[in-house]
């Protein structure tokens, strides 16, 4: 039983050498992660990447096969969930249907024999602006209200660590955006450490101070949202977080502050400090919104990369911007986002265009080009089948 006191403040979370195997597959291969106290941390990744498993390990709902979990420097690996100062906002909210909203919120306080559980529960409900519904049953609330009750039920315990398992997944888009802002302000108000699991990259970037992108049971990259977006280190991050144009070629020359890659005869230059690898075969990239579209061949200038001519094969309008897909001989396809600052598309389908971008906007990845996707040695056949199918589908789409 946890002691009857609140955590003073948020605590650091450390995961050391975590591995988690289930019968038949490995969810987490090897995970080291430190989350500083008081931060809003997001674990972002596609479904099945191991992010929810990570959360359940921290909550104590699963036991790691190997490795240890430290909260505030204290090893809690062997502690049961009810002995950990950690609370979870479940994806399904998991509100007890046989209790009122108030009793739901007071549940944890009562278990820990904390004084005045009802008073504290009311305070928590006031914080999420639901105190007027305290006597209702959870089924009588809307999705957004249930979500806030689940949040109140967790934060009322002042846990050292608050875990959020895709808590906004069941809400519609508008409510979701609103709740994102509310969650963020509540976190700032109570100063707890929030660990938020999501597959929604926009949600992760809006809310978190630090985002860790997970893929196949490993952390691909960790950093501030802006840093992850502007300087992705792997092809997975470059494409999972927004879109990227990626080009692979040999390094053909380098100066003190830039390297040049030869992509099928076209030279692309990126700053050395934005490249993870400096020789051999490398993949470089640039975000589609950084590209400029030209109807005439742009002048060759230092500090600018340019490609072309190519042909526009698709124009798709999406409100604030228009997406152009351009086929450039030898370089495959390039995607360009152009802000709709004027009416109508800049150029129609079939038009001959060039693209250019500032050298400083390029980035170089650390992936081995052409490296086959990693399959864990004992990945289950179902997941391999799914990946194979996806590969096949994308092949079909391309042809």
């Amino acid at each position: 039983m946890a002691s009857g006191t609140f955590a003073e403040s948020g605590a650091d979370l450390e995961l050391v050498g975590i591995q988690k195997r289930f019968p038949g597959f490995t969810a987490i291969e090897h995970l080291d992660l430190t989350i500083p106290a008081g931060s809003f941390f997001a674990l972002l990744g596609p479904s099945g990447c191991g992010k929810t498993t990570t959360l359940r390990l921290v909550a104590g709902l699963e036991d790691p096969t190997e490795g240890s979990i430290l909260i505030g420097g204290k090893d809690v690996t062997k502690l049961k969930p009810f002995q950990r100062q950690v609370n979870t906002v479940f994806q399904s909210y998991a509100l007890f249907p046989h209790m009122t909203v108030l009793e739901n919120v007071a549940f944890g306080l009562r278990r820990r024999k904390i004084e005045d559980p009802i008073g504290k529960a009311h305070e928590a409900l006031v914080l999420v602006e639901l105190d007027h519904l305290a006597t209702r049953k959870p089924q009588q609330l809307s999705g957004g209200q249930q979500q806030r009750v689940a949040l109140a039920r967790a934060i009322v315990n002042r846990p050292a660590l608050l875990l959020l398992d895709e808590p906004l997944g069941a809400l519609d888009l508008k409510l979701r955006r609103q709740m994102q802002l509310e969650l963020k302000s509540i976190q700032e108000e109570v100063g707890l450490t929030f660990v938020h699991v999501t597959h929604d990259q926009e949600e992760a970037m809006t809310m978190a101070d630090t985002v860790a992108v997970m893929n196949k049971g490993e952390i691909e990259q960790l950093g501030a949202p802006e840093e992850l977006y502007e300087l992705p280190r792997t092809a997975f991050v470059a494409n999972f977080l927004g879109q990227s144009n990626l080009f692979t070629g040999h390094v053909s020359g380098s100066t003190s502050n830039s390297i040049t890659v030869d992509v099928e005869g076209t030279k692309i230059t990126i700053p050395t400090k934005r490249a993870q690898r400096h020789k051999g075969e490398v993949t470089v990239g640039v975000r589609p919104e950084k590209l400029h579209l030209h109807k005439n061949a742009p002048k060759k200038e230092a500090g600018t990369n340019s490609l072309g001519p190519g042909r526009i094969i698709d124009v798709s309008f999406s409100g604030v911007s228009t997406q152009y897909t351009i086929a450039i001989p030898g370089i495959d396809k390039v995607t360009v986002f152009q802000q709709n600052t004027t009416f109508g598309p800049l150029a129609g389908e079939g038009a001959e265009v060039w693209v250019s971008w500032d050298v400083d906007h390029g980035f170089g990845l650390e992936d081995e080009p052409g490296a086959t996707p990693r399959f864990p040695a004992d990945a289950d056949t179902a997941s391999i089948a799914v990946q194979k199918r996806r590969a096949l589908m994308s092949e079909l789409e391309e042809s």
Binding site: M1, F82, T88, H98, R112, Q140, L141, R153
Partner: protein
């Protein structure tokens, strides 16, 4: 209620409704099918009405010919002491067997849904077979076991027999409830500082309770109306159905109709109350939610 009746009821009760709530246009003329359905239900209810009406018969010994209306039999049920003794025995057996079967069956149901273990399919088969075996075989089998072991037949052997056939029904009914229970609720309980014990009694058990109550009611109904298995294992002990069977040859006293009608009315009232209350709950939810 007989075993297969129990299975049919369990199935209807535990099957969630999924289809879009929309009917189809009637094919065979708009009135033929409803008319048939009404007539079919009336047909099903004829013997019940008969039994009920004849509980008011001012009969002397046998209750076959109508001899005039009276409330006497309702007011003085226990004038026919044998009927009352048999009814009392049925109640004792029903309650005891229900409690035993509900405890045993609930434990099995939880284990089946929540845990993984070996011999799973063998255990499922063992639970299924009693429901698919003709009652006469179950009855004769137990009786021959008691005979071989030299056990004196009586109230005890009847209770043993009834508990046996009720367990499977409790398992099916409670299992359906357990599998609709979101495991995240129990996880939330553990996460909110509930010890395993507290999580079970404060979360799991209250949430399973409706299923457990349904299972207990079903068990009681099965036990109360069982005749075939009881007949093989009762010895000289009388139960309500056994009393009717024995007196069938010389005529059933109207008091038996009184007891049967009273039980029937009680059961129907219980069913209707639960139907109405759940309908009202749905309405309330619809009014408040969303």
């Amino acid at each position: 209620m007989t075993l297969q009746e129990g299975l049919a009821v369990t199935d209807a009760v535990t099957t969630p409704r999924q289809s879009p709530r929309r009917g189809v246009r009637l094919g065979l003329g708009n009135w033929l099918l409803p008319l048939y359905a009404i007539l079919a239900l009336v047909f099903l209810l004829i013997p019940i009405a008969y039994t009920f009406v004849f509980s008011f018969n001012n009969s002397v010994k046998s209750n076959i010919v109508w001899r005039g209306f009276t409330f006497d039999k309702w007011l003085n049920v226990c004038d026919q002491i044998d009927v009352c003794v048999a009814f009392g025995n049925s109640l004792i057996i029903g309650v005891t067997a229900t409690i035993a079967a509900t405890v045993l069956g609930t434990m099995i149901a939880i284990a089946l849904v929540r845990y993984r273990f070996r011999f799973r399919s063998a255990i499922s088969l063992l639970l299924f077979l009693p429901m698919a075996t003709p009652e006469v075989v179950l009855g004769a089998g137990l009786a021959s076991e008691f005979l071989g072991a030299g056990v004196e037949k009586g109230l005890g052997t009847i209770i043993i027999a009834h508990t046996m056939f009720c367990v499977s029904f409790v398992v099916v009914t409670v299992k359906a409830r357990v599998s609709t229970l979101d495991p995240a609720l129990e996880e939330a309980g553990r996460d909110l500082y509930g010890s395993p014990n507290q999580v079970f009694w404060r979360i799991t058990f209250p949430l399973l309770l409706p299923g457990i109550i349904a299972a207990a009611l079903l068990s009681f109904a099965l036990s109360f109306d069982d005749f075939i298995i009881t007949n093989f294992n009762a010895g000289t002990t009388s139960t309500f159905p056994k009393y009717i069977y024995i007196s069938a040859a010389r005529g059933i006293p109207a008091e038996a109709n009184v007891i049967a009608s009273a039980v029937f009315i009680l059961a129907i009232v219980l069913v209707l109350i639960s139907q109405i209350s759940s309908a009202m709950k749905r309405k309330k939810l619809a009014a408040n939610g969303g």
